[in-house]
């Protein structure tokens, strides 16, 4: 079978077998980005222990690239400190997936935003404590 819509093998692999699908009970932070109108919604859940992201899960409504980037970003953040995680750019997510077709780059942006937003949520909750 030919690569669909110029997706890399890695993208297809993550799309077929997405890692970390689901929600985390009592998450340390939640990031919700996107909206149904533009066709992509991502929810990213993180569990932080001692400033380290020990678990991450996602739920995503969206295309193949949206699902693959969600999967990839959850993999990338696990084991990272919060500061390290904040360094993960959308390009890094795309690169880790072996690249994305130009018209799908916005999905990686969404993944970065979801991550930033989850960490912000975590920090806010920390501040509130």
């Amino acid at each position: 079978m030919v690569d669909i819509k110029n997706y890399s093998e890695k993208v297809m692999e993550h799309f077929k077998n997405p890692r970390n699908v689901g929600e985390i009970d009592n998450p340390s932070g939640i990031g919700k980005v996107g909206n149904p109108i533009c066709g992509d919604i991502m929810e990213l859940y993180i569990k932080v222990e001692g400033n380290v992201i020990v678990d991450a899960k996602f739920k995503t409504f969206g295309c193949g690239a949206a699902i693959a980037t969600s999967s990839m970003v959850t993999e990338l953040v696990k084991g990272k400190t919060v500061e390290e995680a904040l360094q993960i750019s959308n390009k890094a997510v795309a690169e880790a997936l072996g690249g994305l077709p130009p018209i799908k780059m916005h999905c990686s942006v969404l993944a970065e935003q979801a991550l930033t937003s989850a960490i912000e949520d975590y920090k806010k909750k920390q501040g509130n404590k």
Binding site: K16, P36, K59
Partner: protein, 389 residues
Amino acid sequence: MKRIYMDYAATTPTDPEVIKAMTPYFNEICGNPSSLHSFGQEAKHAVEEARGVIALFIGAGGDEIVFTSGGTEGNNYALKGVVNANIERGNHIITSSVEHHCVTETCKFLETRGLKVTYLPVDKYGVVDPEEVKKAITDKTILISIMHANNEIGTIEPVAEIGKIAKEAGVYFHTDAVQTFGHLPINVDELNVDLLSASAHKLYGPKGVGMLYIRKGTRIKSFMHGGDQENGRRASTHNVSGIVGFGKAVELAKESMENEAVIQTKWRDKLIKGILDKIESSRLNGHPVKRLPNNVNVSVEYIEGESMILNLDMEGVACSTGSACTSSSLEPSHVLLAIGLPHEIAHGSLRFTVGRFSKEYDIDYVLEILPKIVSKLRAMSPLYKKEKI
């Protein structure tokens, strides 16, 4: 893995009989129909024979058929050609909000040239109301263009009625019949059309050839300028093998169209019923009855079309979606929005279109795998969860 093609509305495989008919016209009968010598005249003869077959098929005269490179060219030609020739009479055209891109983009281009365009709304099934057409006509209206059947949701438009209104008002009427040509009976007089476009690759003919019917006496300017092929109405060396293939495809359609429609309607309705039964929160798009015999268009809520397409493809099934994610514009199908679907439901649409080489098994197979795919994707969807809480 068995591969199942259910995207006949996008394009059809060329029928083996069509290929056979075309083959001699690549290098046995290889002249240019515009050439005076016998090599050329043999080719010309073949082109004229195909023209005759096609003309007869829609109740037209041979000199009313102009061969084109496809449906897009026919639609560009019809709209630009009529506007260019009649701009002194008026600067207004009427079309619908569910036309194919090649009609709407041409309209948008014409708007940049000062033309006024009315895009009529449709009802929830995608049907244009003839009364709305009537109301939209002004003394500046020179052309009405409403498609015969919609390529996405399969809805058949009341073309004959609209044609009657156009005729009474003395306004030219064009219909994009790309999806119906070779599938439903067409008679240009019964439909009251002045112009009608078709594309061979939608009826088991080759890609890259089509035709525009132009009723005798219609004022229209050329779109493709150059040599005097097609009585000066469409320049460029004839695509001889393509035209011969188109003619053959029409011959085959003439024979089998009626039977195929009966079978396909049965399968269509089976697939629609199966999906709506098996998948909760799914709905049919387009008209339940006034629809193309081979078209199934459904929306599956809470999940997105591209990811369904990819999963179906992984299981060997080829179909299409109106989701934004598959277009470079990142906008979902204008047709689905026009029938009133919210964006997120438009994103979750699937179109299955069967055809001559489909089997009943294909329907069963889709009904077997689609619910599993939907469950898998819904389990990932943040929207699904929320609704269920």
